[in-house]
């Protein structure tokens, strides 16, 4: 069984993510303590809210360095929703802010003229390539979204999945062992649990 640390930096409710991971058999710790996160087999960077405030909180808790350090050590990391956006170099939200810079590219508002933003609801996700993260998921799997901004990866090789809202936007990235999804797997029923189970399996230590 893999242990997974959900980074708690004060942005959004983490209970659903925690319970969904437990449901798929992960051992979960919700923590703001870098030392506790270091002990886990995998790290989840969740988040709901505004990008600049989230980055301030991460820096204050020294969790920005922790994420980079864990990736350097080969530990799988999954960003969810705002957590995906934070992986990028910068966002234009609320005057703009630098992100973690772990994926080349930036975060800008969704361009959906005539459509409602925030984009809320179930949307079919098209997988652009294969990945362990999406094992067993069908070609046009619906996931649940709530967001106003979209990530713009500079390198198309990082794009794992896309969806459409006015424009086709990237909604999943993979740069193993780093992953990120714009949608909420913890609110996406069986498909979301499958994705979290896959991530948990990716995190599982290889038996010696």
């Amino acid at each position: 069984m893999a242990s997974i640390a959900i980074l708690n930096y004060g942005m959004g409710n983490l209970r659903s993510v925690e319970k969904a991971l437990e449901r798929v058999g992960a051992e979960v710790v919700v923590t703001a303590d870098p030392q506790a996160a270091r002990a886990a087999d995998g790290v989840i960077l969740p988040g709901v809210g505004a990008f600049p405030a989230a980055m301030r909180q991460l820096r204050e808790l020294e969790l920005d360095a922790l994420v980079a350090e864990r990736l350097g050590a080969g530990t799988p990391v999954l960003g969810i929703c705002l957590g995906l956006q934070l992986l990028f170099e910068r966002s234009t939200e609320l005057g703009g802010a630098d992100g973690l810079g772990l994926v080349p590219g930036e975060v800008t508002p969704l361009e959906a003229p005539g459509l409602k933003v925030p984009h809320i609801g179930w949307e079919s996700v098209r997988w652009e390539r294969s990945s362990e993260l999406i094992d067993g998921l069908t070609a046009a799997t619906p996931f649940y979204f709530v967001h106003s901004f979209g990530v713009r990866p500079a390198d198309s090789a990082d794009v794992l999945g896309s969806a459409e809202w006015g424009e086709r936007f990237t909604c999943a990235v993979a740069r193993p062992p780093l992953y990120g999804v714009q949608f909420h797997p913890e609110k996406s029923s069986a498909a979301g649990l499958r994705l979290l189970a896959n991530f948990t399996r990716i995190c599982a230590p290889v038996p010696a």
């Binding site: 409710n13 319970k19 609801g121 179930w122 079919s124 619906p142 649940y144 913890e186 029923s189 069986a190």
Partner: protein, 287 residues
């Protein structure tokens, strides 16, 4: 484009589902969380819990319901009934609910919608509106305005048709207390527009004329609201057959359809509803 949603609604009193269900295989048919998990398995896109508990411990019961649901059900859910303040909303959202719906508290103090939207975001705030045709209160326009030469109404002619012939727009009143009390001076369509402009991110629109019948949604009401608000509309009240769900979306312009008895009593499964919508060309999530 966002997939159209099918949303079962569960009425809950003191933590128990109010209407009995015909589901086989449930350990406890009165447990809202077990029923919710079943609906998740069947492909429900979201859930709405409407709490009708009257006791003073109401807030604790809905917070507990939200917590148990979030622990066991992995689709978005809304809690309504008993949300009167930002603190009430905070408590159920912290417990894991995705949205709160407000009804009479917003009518009493419309600023509540703005306060909730500013703290939690419009996507967390649902305005629930119980609407009833104004004609149902025998307040249809004076027959004297009918154009000359109109034939005398046939027996069974409804006030609605009289209004249409008279060229007068249909209108709907707003009700509270489960449809027992009219809110004076509130037009349902205008209220939907005002509530969304004040910060509600979604409208849960129930026809009190159709609620409890199996005659289908009030499509005219649904369309009238969908045309004036810039947020999703959930049609509610009256669904009895699968074609009603299709009508609510295709003819009523709803983004989602809410049902209770059609699923509770096992008339149809959610999977059948989704399949029907899919075959009718409505984009839905198939599971």
């Amino acid at each position: 484009m966002a997939l159209k949603r099918v949303i079962p609604c569960l009425d809950v009193d003191e933590g128990r589902v109010v209407k009995g269900t015909n589901f086989v295989g449930l350990r406890d048919a009165g447990d809202p969380v077990e029923l919710a998990a079943r609906y998740d398995d069947e492909g429900a896109d979201e859930l709405v819990f409407l709490d009708i508990t009257a006791s003073h411990e109401r807030r604790e019961t809905i917070v507990e319901l939200a917590r148990r649901t979030a622990d066991n059900v992995f689709i978005p859910f809304t809690i309504g009934g008993g949300i009167r303040t930002a603190d009430d909303a905070q408590a159920v959202l912290d417990a894991g609910a995705d949205k709160v719906s407000v009804n009479s508290a917003a009518l009493a103090r419309p600023e509540l919608l703005t306060e909730l939207a500013e703290v939690f975001g419009a996507q967390c705030v649902v305005i629930a509106i119980d609407a009833k045709r104004a004609g149902a209160r025998d307040e249809v326009p004076d027959r004297a305005v009918e154009p000359a030469g109109r034939l005398a109404p046939e027996p069974g002619d409804t006030g609605r048709e009289a209004e249409d012939v008279a060229g007068v727009m249909s209108s709907w009143d707003v009700y509270v207390n489960g449809g027992r009390r009219v809110v004076e001076g509130r037009d349902a369509v205008a209220w939907a527009r005002e509530a969304t402009e004040r910060g509600a991110g979604e409208v849960l629109l129930t026809s009190m004329d159709r609620d409890g019948t199996t005659d289908g949604y009030d499509l005219e009401l649904t369309r009238a609201v969908a045309e004036v608000v810039a947020v999703p509309v959930i049609a509610s009240g009256g669904a009895g057959e699968l074609r009603h769900l299709e009508q609510g979306i295709v003819e009523g312009g709803a983004d989602a359809v809410l049902c209770a008895s059609i699923f509770h009593y096992g008339t149809h499964t959610i999977r059948e509803a989704k399949q029907h919508l899919h075959e009718a060309g409505v984009p839905v999530r198939l599971t």
